[in-house]
């Protein structure tokens, strides 16, 4: 890590800083509803028909948009394939990313406000997301310039490894990090020389569009980046397209598995063996050892499970507590959950905002129904809208789907375990392994758990969300993803092909240097 530094968060503990954000929100609100265009080769064609809304006030329309047509998708793919972007020098590509980072920084308050509105994410987390996007751009720009591997050299030959672009990448991103996740995937592909066709989530197209405009405004050529808003049909079309070499996807396991199937369905006219870089969520477990410091464990768990209403792929979903500490933990955790304030994301006093859409409410309600009678605590929540009561549940039957499936809502389960081995056994029986938490003050227990758990990101004695670029490269193992770690230099290797050149440097017994 040479010059890279994480972009500083806003100091929201300062009243004047909060005031500036409120002003930015007022400014954004005057522009609503935004228009999200389809952008193909720099041509922006707007449309209506679809809307994105404020999850915390569903009657407020944030943006109007329409899905990209079959014809537009075709033109975008053709332009991407013909683009000269792969032949642009890597330094130039990196510089475009850095300029984009500068633009995001300049507009950081407006972008944070847009995330608050369109994704229903509270201010602190929205601001952190803008910083994360900036970090991705800057880290990848820096890393791409230096990405290299020294090969062994022998007398009379020169060996060289070059990284060569792979062809167009399709980026399909989720709504829960509408700026930073696409920023990571799009910028990694672009900097390694892949033109990009980008489909933002249906719920958050305006945030995705704002990012595309920043890239185009920073000198990324119009044939190298296309914005194709749409629903699952657009995604399916991109995944199956023969022009696409790399698919970068963050989303649900079900869709991730479908992408894997569909990517290789079509064989005629295919130019690439598609490479899939996928991050697919998890059922994230936290172990609380008998010696854990509950004073700190409780707030850290609450933050992990209920922050952004549990709608982070890294969120804590299942708590396994040593039987000796279980009762006390439940009691204190229940008291803490009851204090959570549910309300609009733009209100600085809110702990838990609304869920992203009505479907999410239905889904979480279904899981909560399975916990009926086993609730240990419920917070108060406004009735109506897309709010959902933060819930803590215990003693679920071992085969309950709530213990195995990703809920993606403010619902945490807690269960007692006889010892750490039993906790490990239960966690390892889950197919996904994204994040995990360990609360223990025994260094040997921590080390043992780290060795036995397979999660991609493990956190010890702290919350399990909020991975920081360059510090906690992020991604899952098992069915949680293809193993790439966003926010690391190594991530870029997934977006490039290797080319090895071996040159004979011997001529008539004379070694040329």
């Amino acid at each position: 890590m040479s010059g890279f530094r994480n972009h500083p968060l806003l100091e929201l503990r300062r009243a004047d800083e909060r005031e500036e954000l409120r002003a930015a929100m007022a400014g954004l609100d005057r522009e609503l509803p935004l228009r999200v265009p389809v952008v193909v080769s720099g041509r922006r064609t707007g449309g209506e028909g679809q809307t994105s809304i404020d999850p915390c006030a569903p009657e407020r329309i944030v943006a109007r948009w329409r899905a990209a047509t079959e014809e537009e998708i075709g033109r975008a793919l053709a332009a991407a394939e013909a683009s000269a972007w792969p032949r642009t020098a890597i330094a130039e590509r990196a510089a475009a990313l850095e300029r984009t980072a500068g633009l995001l920084d300049r507009d950081r308050r407006r972008l944070a406000a847009l995330i608050v509105r369109e994704a229903g994410k509270p201010w602190a987390e929205s601001d952190a997301e803008v910083c994360e996007a900036i970090d991705f751009l800057r880290l990848y720009a820096e890393a791409a310039r230096e990405l290299d591997e020294d090969l062994l050299q022998a007398p009379g030959e020169r060996n060289e490894l070059r990284l060569v672009p792979r062809g167009p990448a399709a980026v399909i991103s989720p709504w829960n990090f509408p700026l930073s996740i696409p920023a990571g995937m799009v910028s990694a592909a672009l900097v390694m020389g892949s033109p990009v066709v980008f489909k933002p989530a249906e719920q958050t197209p305006a945030t995705g569009a704002a990012f595309v405009e920043a890239l185009l405004g920073s000198g990324v050529p119009t044939d190298a980046l296309h914005l194709l808003p749409g629903d699952a049909a657009v995604g399916r079309r991109l995944v199956g397209a023969p022009e696409v070499a790399t698919i970068a996807f963050t989303g649900s396991l079900a869709v991730g598995l479908e992408i894997h199937r569909r990517a290789y369905e079509r064989t005629e006219g295919v130019h690439y063996l598609k490479r899939i870089v996928a991050e697919l969520g998890g059922k994230n477990c936290v172990i609380v050892d008998s010696d854990a410091d509950l004073d700190e464990t409780v707030p850290e768990i609450v933050r992990s499970a209920y922050g952004y209403a549990g709608q982070k792929c890294s969120a804590a979903a299942r708590l396994l507590a040593h039987r000796r500490i279980h009762a006390r933990l439940c009691e204190r955790l229940a008291g803490a959950v009851e204090l959570l304030r549910v309300g609009p994301a733009e209100d600085f006093t809110t702990d838990v905002p609304a869920l992203i859409d009505a479907d999410a409410v239905t889904k979480v309600r279904g899981y909560a129904g399975l916990c009926q009678g086993r609730e240990l605590a419920r917070a108060d929540a406004p009735t109506g809208g897309q709010y959902f009561v933060p819930t803590l549940a215990g003693d679920l039957p071992e085969d309950s789907p709530v213990l195995r499936e990703e809920v993606f809502g403010p619902l945490l389960t807690v269960e007692a375990v006889r010892d750490l081995d039993e906790a490990v056994r239960r966690i390892r029986s889950l197919p996904q392994a994204l994040t995990g938490g360990i609360f223990s003050r025994h260094p040997e227990h921590v080390e043992r758990l780290v060795r036995e758990l397979t999660a991609g990101n493990l956190y010890v004695n702290r919350h399990i969300t909020g991975a920081v670029v360059g510090r906690q490269p992020f991604g899952g193992n098992g069915l949680s993803g293809t193993g790439a770690r966003t926010g690391s230099r190594r991530y870029l290797w997934r977006f490039t092909d290797d080319q090895v050149i071996c040159e004979n440097t011997l001529r008539h017994g004379l070694e040329l240097s």
Binding site: A15, A124, D293, D295, L339, F348, T349, R441, H442, P443
Partner: protein
Amino acid sequence: MGNSERDGGPPDPIDARIREIAHEIRVAEPRLPFRDRLSDAALTHLEGRRELRAALLRFVDAAPACHGPRERGAHLRAYLRQAPREQLPLPLRALAADPLGPALVPLGGAATRPAIRLLAHRFIAGRDAPAARSVLRRAWDRGEAFTLDLLGEATVTAGECDAYRDRCLAALDYLTELSAGWPAHPLLAEADRHGPLARVNLSVKLTALTPLLRAEAPERGASEAAARLRPLLRRARDLGAHLHLDMEWVDTRETLLSAVEALLAEEEFRSGPSAGIVVQAYLRDAGETLERVIDSPVCARQVPLTVRLVKGAYWEHESAEAGQVGWEPPVWATKGDTDRCFEALTRRLIELGDRVRPAIASHNLRSLSHAIAYHESRGGHRADIELQVLRGLGDSLARALAATAHRVRVYTPVGDLVAGMAYLVRRLLENSSSQGFLLQERSRPLEELLEPPR
């Protein structure tokens, strides 16, 4: 040699007086009792042994959560194994070593409980206020007043905050009854220029009164804390006791100040009780905080506000937290900066003496002597400035100050010895290491200690 001379400027006119006062106090410092000398030696021993010190502090922190001697011993062994072997004293080295160590675990665990208790007795006056009665009385007879601090676990639920409030109420009642029978003591100057001083003095923590501390939404914690603080203020007013609000990490400051400002402006508290807040000199904006408080309605009441000036105990926490998110730390970078700020604010507080009651809290001889000398130079009476030290760290200093006829108050924690010690370790010791663990002051030569801060 003061730096003013070195810098070529005129020496501070009170510099000579600072030295005189410091010598007087140093000479009056009694030899510590054996038990304290023992723990002193142990703590001093740890000064140069960072990893060993960390291992033992982590152990003290975890010990109350352990189940029986075997588990305690296993924790101790695991922590010790993370420290370099050459730092370990022989018995600990055996416990950490293979293959003998595991066999020693139960023994090691059994031995730790009395060891922690021994250390805890030094810092904690008793399980609760009644258990501390003789400690408080003996101190009073020596001329040392107290402010009591109720140790406990952090509060994460409303019920825990209510329980803390109730403990505070009970302590106020008990201490009032207890101290009513104490003899009048001229040294304690039971009145200053503003009027009578309360014998009962309770320090409370905002973080124990509300779990809703949100740096970006101070109003939330403030209204909740105020609801629990109100009955405490009423009781203190009715009993004639003093209630002091401790300051913790900077993210809680706005919550605390806005709660206090709103509450003390209420009509029912205009004439009482006596209340106090804390200003932490290690914060770069400590001066602004002081001025804000001075200009607030808190200082327009009939009873003057007590302002306790401290250096601050969360330096590492503040630095690390700022470093993680890319902010300039809210604290000064060096101890010299903090000390300088402390002296500047000391002077400002003393100058404000007609509006507030200054309480200068430090174990640094220079800082205290400077406050005394400056107060004197302005013609102030000894009764009008209070000096504060922590039990366990400033014991001999407190005695010396009392013996040299200064008004001194000892910040006295009470609570479960083992659990309370863990809590104290977390909140106090581990946070103050970089800015000079308080004990090292004693081992440094006086001349060095008395240099003006640079």
